[in-house]
Symmetry: C2
DNA sequence: GGCTTGATACTCGGATAAATAGTGTCCGAGTCCTAGCGG
DNA sequence: CCGCTAGGACTCGGACACTATTTATCCGAGTATCAAGCC
């Protein structure tokens, strides 16, 4: 089992967007900042756009911008946007197969294994939901106060360069 | 992201082993009970054996048996035996790359994103660790009291048939 | 009759192929900006 | 001088290859069982 690399990329991108005041930045430029493959990052950001986390701005000075306040974007939102909202564990209901299948009456209640797995995933998501993009940005600027301004300048300089 | 199907199979297999009093059952027979590919289930059970959850008994009337009491086997144990113990989220430290890499002083503290992700996974594992094989078996026999005995008979009948 | 010994049937165990999900790339549709043209 | 228009450059967006992981399978090594032969 492995979480998509894109999740990490997307969160970093969102944090960077916070520091440039949510203003639109192109996927190419966001990718350049972390030496990522631009087209693939673009694909991830598209997913975030579809999920309503980001909004895409077409045109020359377009790009991706935060769709709402960073306090209202949790890491879970980003995660689900990229991974999809289907659970990691999918019960195949094998208890209903084989020479001694579970009776239909038994299957009225969901499979215990499934319940446990889904419960654990719920705990996992709840923990992710407790942390927002704004919180991450605040943490970083607490440990390295100069970073946000430097990042902002780098993105603006790029805008000037064009 | 997707959890290995083998996890579900392995837990079902463990529960069945509880009902036949932990006695050894061959992977072929365990597979037959749920219409699973025998060789592949065998592979999963091998992983559990390596992890010390099951013990393998070679020879004619051999198979796999619980290595310890079902109360001492959590769903997390089974999960980690099959999925491995490396975290689902692996930070690539992309903050250290690109034109504006994070300073080494900043990297003294772990990446905030990584911390959040690992914390969420810890919550997930903790939840899985709260449930044991014995608990699942008890739940099933509470909703369908006849099942354990019927399963036990089926496995024993198989032993007789040989 | 009891013990040794060999064959046998069954088990696990790891090495080896298909299928699927993740990773990465490409080019087209659409939009905004800019520069030139006419009024 | 001001408004209109055509062109261009840049953006997202989804369709198309490539790689790694998961899924599935096969055959060999090893062991307990069992039966026959020997003491």
């Amino acid at each position: 089992m492995r979480i998509n690399q894109g999740v990490e990329w997307a969160i970093h991108a969102c944090v960077n967007l916070v520091w440039i005041d949510g203003g639109p930045a192109s996927s190419a430029r966001l990718a350049e900042f972390h030496e990522l493959p631009p087209a693939y990052l673009n694909k991830q950001l598209q997913a975030l756009s579809r999920a309503g986390v980001l909004k895409s701005v077409p045109g020359q000075h377009g790009g991706f911008a935060l769709a709402r306040a960073p306090e209202a974007i949790s890491t879970l939102d980003v995660m689900q946007a990229i991974e999809g909202d289907e659970p990691a564990f999918r019960c195949a209901e094998i208890r209903q197969r084989g020479p001694l299948p579970a009776s239909k009456a038994s299957c009225r209640t969901p499979c215990q294994i499934n319940s446990i797995m889904l419960g654990a995933e719920a705990a996992w998501r709840a923990e992710l939901d407790r942390h927002t993009i704004a919180e991450i940005a605040a943490d970083v600027s607490a440990t390295a106060p100069a970073v946000p301004e430097r990042v902002r300048r780098w993105f603006l300089r790029g805008a000037d360069r064009s």
